[in-house]
């Protein structure tokens, strides 16, 4: 009977998530009426609730843990609140972005409950705190007009934070990522990358002579080198690529990209020569099965999970994702693919793409160079991070130890990604407000014309 339930749930979740993903792109269709579009967003919201309920019902039956009932209610309230904040309180937020955020969080809640209910509860708590913290961010973004003047502050905090990790951080899987304060462990680079974007934007938005570029590049390089010193090469790659993208848009010079890729290639090669854990990951990437007892164990387990799950998945609770080391963090995608199916996993990639396109579009439509660069930088961070983690899990690229934003377990990652989404929403709202003002001006003219 349980199996029947799991099977029905597996296929229904898959269909609902596929429809959700389709709608992510369907709303982009030109010439769509606003009512239709609004209707689609509402449909997406309904699907989020249904998927959450559907999965939690199955998890309740298979785990027989009655905390799941309470969590379901709490999670629904959480999503309702999030939608309320960005739908009603902040008028003019991007419904696409807020829906995607809720959808990804829902997947996170589902898969973490399946993997480790204690962690799921913790993660949900952090999400609640993050929602409270981040709900004021859009307001700050539009009201605080001096954000572009704090470049020095951003740089100091960033370098200091990364420096502390390099010196006093604790080592995990070959890299220093965290610092512990009492019982709380935080990963500063998750937050510093957002500050880093603000720093770069505050220098580049009005650069006039080349010395400013050198100054920005120097500080950026320092960030990257500190990360390399902590052996956090995934983080270093994120910072470097983000910087290059922002620099390229600010200077409009394609040589930046060419030079940047050159630096990246040389850097990767040197990292390969210098660090054994990089070599190990490359070995594991090339042929994980040949070193399955050693370096290839994790990637092999991940591919066992994805492959055995197949396109339709084993069903929640019927796979063996626990066999994958660090499954709740870096390899959470493999667990989703195994139990919810390759179709859901593929849709998940497309939802991430939809987020990314939205970020870049927001950036493109902003006129103020400072905010434009911020949206671009945050979008790049998000895109690179998703690409690195998914690529590592499916053996498309060597694994880099980066978490999947909004889905992987981990407080720092979740909070910083929610901050990132909130900043983007702030920018979107601000742009809409400015446009409304502009429109008001125009409208008067239009009206006059009409009257005439």
């Amino acid at each position: 009977m349980l199996h029947l339930l799991v099977t029905i749930s597996k296929y229904t979740i898959m269909i609902m998530f596929a429809i959700y993903t389709y709608d992510c792109f369907a709303v982009l269709r030109p010439g769509m009426k606003p009512e239709k579009r609004e209707h689609m967003y509402k449909k997406q919201t309904t699907l989020i609730y249904l998927i959450l309920l559907n999965a939690n019902a199955v998890l309740l039956c298979s785990l027989m843990d009655f905390r799941i009932i309470i969590m379901s209610v709490a999670e629904m309230i959480f999503i309702a609140l999030t939608l309320l904040i960005y739908n009603r309180i902040y008028k003019g937020a991007s419904l696409s972005v807020v829906n995607n955020m809720c959808m990804l969080l829902t997947l996170s809640f589902i898969i973490l409950t399946r993997l480790d209910i204690e962690k799921a509860i913790r993660q949900f708590g952090i999400a609640c705190v993050a929602l409270v913290i981040t709900c004021v961010i859009p307001l700050f973004i539009s009201k605080l007009k001096f954000l572009n003047k704090l470049s020095f502050l951003y740089a100091i905090i960033g370098i200091f934070g990364l420096g502390v990790v390099t010196i006093a951080g604790s080592t995990e899987y070959g890299a220093k990522l965290n610092i512990s304060i009492g019982s709380v462990t935080i990963q500063p680079s998750e937050f510093i990358k957002i500050l880093f974007v603000f720093f770069v934007a505050s220098i580049l938005y009005q650069w006039e002579d080349i010395t400013e570029l050198f100054y920005a590049s120097g500080v950026a390089l320092l960030h990257v080198l500190l990360l390399v010193a902590s052996k956090d090469l995934g983080g270093a790659a994120i910072f470097l690529i983000t910087y290059l993208a922002m620099m390229y848009v600010a200077t409009k010079n394609p040589l930046i990209l060419v030079g940047g890729f050159g630096i990246g290639a040389v850097g990767s090669f040197m990292a390969y020569k210098l660090f054994t854990h990089v070599q190990n990951r490359v070995i594991a990437w090339l042929d994980p099965l040949s070193v399955i007892d050693d370096q290839g164990y994790q990637v092999s387990q991940s591919l066992f999970a994805i492959g055995t799950g197949g396109w339709f998945g084993s069903g929640l609770g019927e796979g063996m994702p626990d066999k994958i080391p660090v499954v709740t963090k870096d390899f959470v995608f493999a667990a989703i693919s195994e139990e919810m199916g390759g179709v859901v996993a593929l849709c998940l990639i497309f939802v991430c793409i939809s987020c990314l396109l939205m970020f870049f579009n927001i950036s493109m439509s902003i006129k103020d160079m400072f905010y434009k660069l911020i949206a671009l930088g945050l979008g790049t961070i998000y895109g690179i991070q998703v690409f690195l983690t998914l690529g590592g899990v499916i053996k498309f690229i060597p694994s880099t130890g980066v978490t999947l934003p909004l889905i992987s377990y981990g407080g720092s990652s979740l909070l910083s990604t929610m901050v990132l989404f909130a900043v983007i929403q702030g920018l979107y709202i601000m742009r809409n407000d400015q446009e409304s003002e502009l429109e008001d001006g125009k409208t008067k003219r239009t009206k006059r014309n009409r009257d005439y």
Binding site: H3, T7, I8, V27, L28, R29, P30, G31, M32, K33, P34, R37, E38, Y41, G92, A93, S94, L95, S96, A245, Y248, V249, K252, L257, S300, L303, F304, A305, I306, G307, T308, G310, W311, E318, G319, M320, G342, L346, I349, I353, L356, L357, M358, F360, N361, M364, S365, K367, L376, T380, F387, L390, I394, F396, N432, E435, L438, E439, K442, T443
Partner: protein, 523 residues
């Protein structure tokens, strides 16, 4: 009507300035609409038209580069994901480290294993309570090659584990079974085995321990594979502890693929080839008085027989130890070692079969005379697997080209429709055509005028080399070997047969070969 066309909210970078102008017009119309909406109290939210910026079309070029760059990365990622799912995942799924396969048996009835001539070699029955029993209709005849599915896996049961636990049954049936919480029928694995031939060989071996491997030289298909002592796979679950703890007879060892035996005189195939490579001739003349001594070490011919005056070809036919140990002392040992590697000694054999051991050959330049003499007649430190010897015979038959041995031919669903077929694969030439032809002449002579004359018939043309391998100091204990092949028109078969402790090759192993050839060629 102004509302006909709404500009899209999300503008996927459009570099065409014409379109932009178009949109600009639309957005102006839209603005007024928005205004009207607002006046009616409805919220103005998405869609907000994105105002195209100025006339300068190049403004968005950087964004286009970055967006398309990311899109390309993610599309590549998605394509790779699909590629992995479709083409690569099987290698991972079937890995013995993957603990998930065992779980598949909760929803799938393990599929049947059948022979190429349609005989069921393994099947599963389900009782009314849903308990599954694995049955092997031929009992111990296919024990090692088909293997078992309890207390770990072995043989085809191991190699085809994933295929057996997958169902390509009609999709609605599977969906229905899924919903009814019933198991679906797993796919049938068709092997390359010839059941008729397998049974013939099994009975011809009699009560001797040992192994038989037969393969098709042109394809690499394994036609039969037997290892004795054997066990009954139907009762392996109950017998397992008894069998597994009996270390003296190693019942569970598949001697055909992982039994390491001294090759005895069958190794003279290599010694003869090395001699010919170094300029020797068929007609080189030798004298044999039954024994040969060098450096204080004496070698006898089998049964102390003196062969008298003989050519090198005749010495091969007579399996004359005196001539071959003499010849061995003249050989270039480096070159001899090179030849052994060319014939895949000390290398993992090219095959997808599991639990295959490598044969070993070692002879350093400073080896003692006695070791050189012993090695030349197939004693010494050389050890071979029967599968390897069958592969050597197969490549001689196939003009030097070795096909990789395989045993899983195809996978069918429960209605007999092919789901997957496995084609033969070439390993490459381990002998030149000339070398293969030379050896063919020698091995034919063994049948027409030598120790395997029992195989001389008009029904087919047989080739081979017998062997009597000593395996301990007591000279009476010899393993009986035959390595060779036979052909009749396009039909070919290569075999390696070893009967432990039986006696001479010609008396015990050759009759097994004869029974197999007779069956295979339809006598």
């Amino acid at each position: 009507m102004a509302r006909q066309k709404e500009p899209r909210e999300i503008e996927i970078i459009d570099l065409n300035p014409k379109n932009k102008n178009q949109k600009n017009k639309n957005s102006k119309k839209n603005n007024s609409n928005n205004n009207e909406n607002r006046a009616k109290g409805s919220r103005s939210k998405e869609p907000q038209p994105i105002q195209p910026k100025e006339k300068n079309g190049s403004k968005n070029r950087e964004f286009a580069v970055i967006t398309y760059g990311f899109l390309a990365l993610f599309i590549a990622l998605s394509v790779y994901f699909c590629y992995f799912m479709e083409f690569q995942s099987e290698d991972f799924i079937n890995n013995s480290y993957n603990a998930r396969i065992a779980q598949l048996s909760n929803s799938i009835i393990r599929g049947d294993i059948v022979s190429s001539d349609g005989e069921v070699l393994a099947t599963s029955s389900v009782d009314s309570q849903g308990n599954e029993t694995r049955e092997y209709p031929n009992g111990s005849t296919f024990a090692h090659v088909i293997g078992y599915n309890s207390n770990g896996l072995m043989g085809v049961e191991l190699d085809a584990n994933f295929y057996l636990l997958r169902s390509h049954s009609f999709i609605l049936n599977r969906l229905l079974n899924d919903l009814k919480d019933e198991k679906s029928q797993g796919d049938t694995v068709v092997t390359t085995l010839n059941a008729q031939l397998q049974k013939t060989a099994y009975f011809a071996m009699g009560n001797y321990d040992g192994a038989v491997v037969a393969m098709e030289p042109s394809t690499g298909k394994i036609l039969s594979m037997i290892s004795k002592p054997d066990f009954d796979p139907n009762t392996i679950e109950d017998d397992y502890s008894e069998i597994a703890t009996d270390s003296s007879s190693s019942v569970l060892l598949n001697r055909a693929t992982s039994g390491l035996y001294p090759p005895g005189s069958t190794f003279k195939i290599l010694t003869a080839l090395e001699y010919l490579n170094e300029g020797g001739n068929n007609t080189d003349s030798f004298d044999c008085d039954g024994s040969f001594t060098s450096d204080g070490y004496e070698i006898h011919c089998y049964g102390n027989k003196a062969h008298g005056n003989e050519t090198f070809l005749e010495a091969f036919g007579n399996s004359c130890n005196v001539v071959f140990s003499q010849v061995g002392l003249t050989l270039d040992l480096n070159s001899f070692y090179g030849l052994s590697e060319q014939l895949l000694f000390n290398k993992s054999l090219p095959t997808r079969l599991s639990n295959v051991k490598s044969s070993s050959f070692s002879l350093s330049e400073d080896a003692s005379d006695s070791l050189i003499m012993q090695t030349s007649i197939g004693q010494g430190d050389t050890l071979v697997t029967p599968l390897h010897m069958a592969m050597i015979a197969s490549s001689i038959c196939n003009e030097g080209l070795l096909m990789e041995p395989y045993i899983i031919d195809s996978v069918q669903n429960d209605e007999g429709t092919n789901v997957e077929s496995y084609s033969e694969s070439e390993y490459g030439n381990i002998l030149t055509t000339v070398q293969a032809e030379e050896l063919e002449e020698y091995m034919r002579f063994v049948v027409t005028d030598g120790t395997a004359s029992a195989l001389n018939t008009d029904s087919y043309e047989a080739f081979g080399k017998t062997g009597s391998a000593e395996y301990n100091s007591d000279k009476d204990d010899t393993h009986s070997w035959f390595v060779g092949y036979a052909k009749d028109g396009d039909k070919e078969i290569a075999v390696a047969i070893i009967l432990e402790g039986a006696g001479s090759g010609s008396s015990y192993a050759v009759p097994v070969a004869k029974a197999m050839f007779d069956t295979y060629f339809g006598n």
